[in-house]
């Protein structure tokens, strides 16, 4: 049936303008879909990539965010020493972090936005080996390090800048990367310094621990329950913790799906219009093919294929239009901590496949009624068409 396919493909070139218009409509739908999904995927990927199965976070019970968690030193000391936490020559691998939210202006003078300042000790780097600071610098005293994406999204966060928050000025001494993990949206400060500055001495927000084995999480929680000091704490995997903070992505997926559906209706009607015109213009050809012995089903499939082909080409064009956003950095509000999370648009091969599928589907659905009309038209009526 290669010849019939040739027939359909060549006909697309005969009516170039209407084909291109329909194709552009489908491309727009697919491009919008991909950009929205790339946005959602970028946010989701923070939850998917941050932490590993051995990393757990201990928070105060009754809270799901570091913002509202407080762990006194005596509880932290005891929690550090439960048996399930991995040890190295320096002791248990536990990072005590203090989570503070500050507000900084945008580089272009726009409205200020919230961002995370994390008070850390040297252990923070042991438990998060993915954090790579330029020149291996560490935050000490007034010296702070900044996640690289933040330096572009906020003022005063370039290396050498002085930035004011809390009660004093701080010196930006380096930027760090973290393989796209959530830490890249944070400013890291020496823990004792920020505790003093924020009047939160002897308290941290969270403990990040490295478990001996992933299945030790349950035992860790049981152990925490046993002591009066730690029974107000609970542990969960770091991965689950960050997945719980990507609600924006789910909202985007729903909204993106809805917008795509609405746009698809328009593009589908465009495809329908194009195909009705094609069927009308080629009535005599359809009659001839039927007279030669081609059945109704062949005619239906042939026109359906032609329409789906426009959709697929539109889908491919939509993918090409959307691809440049892949890797673009942007930021969104974390609705749990009300701070900005920097992330990159992510277009995956599977998303491109779905985009192509949407294009093909819009074409096929839009072309179905015209194809049916072509197949159902009586031979003589088709042959008499001018």
């Amino acid at each position: 049936m290669g010849l019939i396919l040739k027939y359909n493909i060549r006909n697309l070139f005969v009516r170039r303008v209407s084909t291109l218009m329909t194709l552009a409509g489908v491309a727009m739908v697919v491009a919008v879909f991909l950009v929205l999904m790339a946005l959602a995927q970028g946010i989701l990927s923070i939850g998917e990539t941050t932490g590993d199965p051995l990393q757990a976070i201990i928070l105060q019970k009754g809270t799901n965010a570091e913002t509202s968690s407080g762990i006194p030193d005596e509880a932290a000391d005891e929690a550090e020493n439960v048996g399930m936490v991995e040890r190295d020559p320096n002791g248990p691998i536990v990072a005590r972090d203090l989570f503070i939210v500050i507000m900084l202006p945008r580089p272009d003078g726009g409205a200020p936005a919230n961002l995370v300042v994390r008070g850390v000790t040297g252990r923070a780097f042991d438990i998060r080996p993915e954090v790579k600071v330029d020149g291996g610098k560490r935050p000490r005293g007034s010296d702070i390090i900044v996640g690289r994406p933040l330096s572009k999204r906020f003022a005063h966060l370039n290396v050498g800048d002085k930035v004011h928050f809390g009660k004093r000025d701080w010196n930006v001494i380096g930027h760090f990367d973290a393989d796209g993990q959530a830490w890249e949206s944070e400013v890291w400060v020496d823990l004792p310094e920020i505790q003093a500055d924020a009047n939160r001495k002897n308290t941290v927000s969270s403990l990040f621990v490295r478990l001996n084995r992933p299945e030790d999480l349950e035992a860790l929680n049981e152990q925490l329950e046993k002591s009066a000091n730690t029974k107000q704490l609970k542990a969960m995997t770091v991965r689950d913790y960050f997945k719980g903070q990507t609600g924006t992505a789910q909202m985007l997926q729903v909204v993106g799906g809805f917008i795509t559906f609405l746009l698809s209706l328009g593009a589908g009607l465009g495809a329908m219009n194009t195909m009705y015109a094609a069927v009308g213009n080629r009535a005599r050809e359809i009659g001839t093919l039927r007279a030669l012995g081609f059945g109704r089903f062949t005619i239906l499939v042939s026109f359906l294929f032609e329409s789906a082909l426009i959709g697929l080409a539109g889908g491919a064009l939509g993918c090409l239009i959307a691809l440049p956003v892949n890797g673009l950095q942007t930021g969104t509000m974390n609705w749990v901590s009300f701070t900005e999370t920097a992330f990159s648009f992510r277009i995956t091969p599977a998303m491109l496949g779905v985009g192509l599928g949407i294009g093909g589907l819009v074409g096929a659905v839009g072309g179905f009624l015209p194809a049916l009309a072509a197949a159902r038209r009586p031979i003589l009526a088709s042959l008499r068409a001018t």
Partner: protein, 228 residues
């Protein structure tokens, strides 16, 4: 009986226009012997094209029976009729009805797609058909690159490529100049004489009808025979 290729028995055809029923053919009976070259003539609306369409299986009679090459086609379902058409008949249209986006070769190849022939076998059949109509050197040309006469010859090649027992031509010279018309008629005569094709041709043109071996006149849905 053995030399009758097609038999039309008591065929009546009514068309509905708005709410009115119009009788185009009335109790018409006709026998077309194998190897016949029959010209159907008659005034507009006499039912000659309707009879041709009924013989081609692209229309069904209101009543009566049509048998072609031993097969009764009246009452056949849509799919069976399409299959029958693809194997038994070749249709030649007044306006050639070539597919504009396909080359001469591809147009001729179309009916062969409904057979189980391999690509190589199809090629052999197509080239043979184009050779018979004298256009093997135009196989890669698109219809817009051919003259009217050449287009009709490609259409004839398409009609004979499956080696059908019955060729049906609806005003095959109606859109051609005198020279091209003559070439087409000569080709039809050759197909009848040399290749023993049974041909039924509808025409208004007495000169064209004179090339047939038999002429039948249709008037108000009834047949009037005239010797060629």
């Amino acid at each position: 009986m053995s030399d009758a290729l097609a038999e039309v028995t008591g065929v009546t055809k009514d068309y509905k226009r708005d709410k009115q029923s119009i009788r185009v053919l009335e109790a018409l009976s006709l026998t077309i012997p194998r190897g016949d070259f029959l010209a159907l003539m008659g005034p507009s609306g006499s039912g000659k094209t309707t009879l041709l369409n009924l013989l081609a299986g692209i229309d069904q009679p209101t009543s009566g029976k049509i048998t072609v090459d031993g097969k009764t086609i009246t009452g056949l379902g849509e799919g069976a009729l399409a299959k029958w058409r693809s194997r038994t008949t070749g249709f030649i249209f007044q306006l050639y009805n070539l597919i504009p986006v396909l080359t001469a070769y591809e147009n001729v190849e179309l009916p062969l797609l409904l057979t189980s022939l391999s690509r190589a076998e199809r090629r052999q059949h197509v080239m043979q058909a184009l050779d018979i109509v004298g256009l093997s050197d135009r196989s890669k040309h698109f219809p817009r690159q051919l003259s009217g006469g050449q287009e009709q010859r490609v259409a004839i090649a398409r009609a004979i490529v499956v080696d059908p027992v019955l060729l049906l031509a609806d005003e095959p010279t109606g859109d051609l100049d005198a020279k091209s018309a003559d070439e087409v008629l000569t080709l039809l005569q050759r197909l009848n004489r040399e290749f023993r094709k049974t041909i039924v041709m509808v025409t208004h043109d007495p000169k064209a009808a004179a090339r047939a071996t038999r002429i039948l006149h249709l008037e108000k849905g009834q047949l009037v025979e005239t010797a060629a």
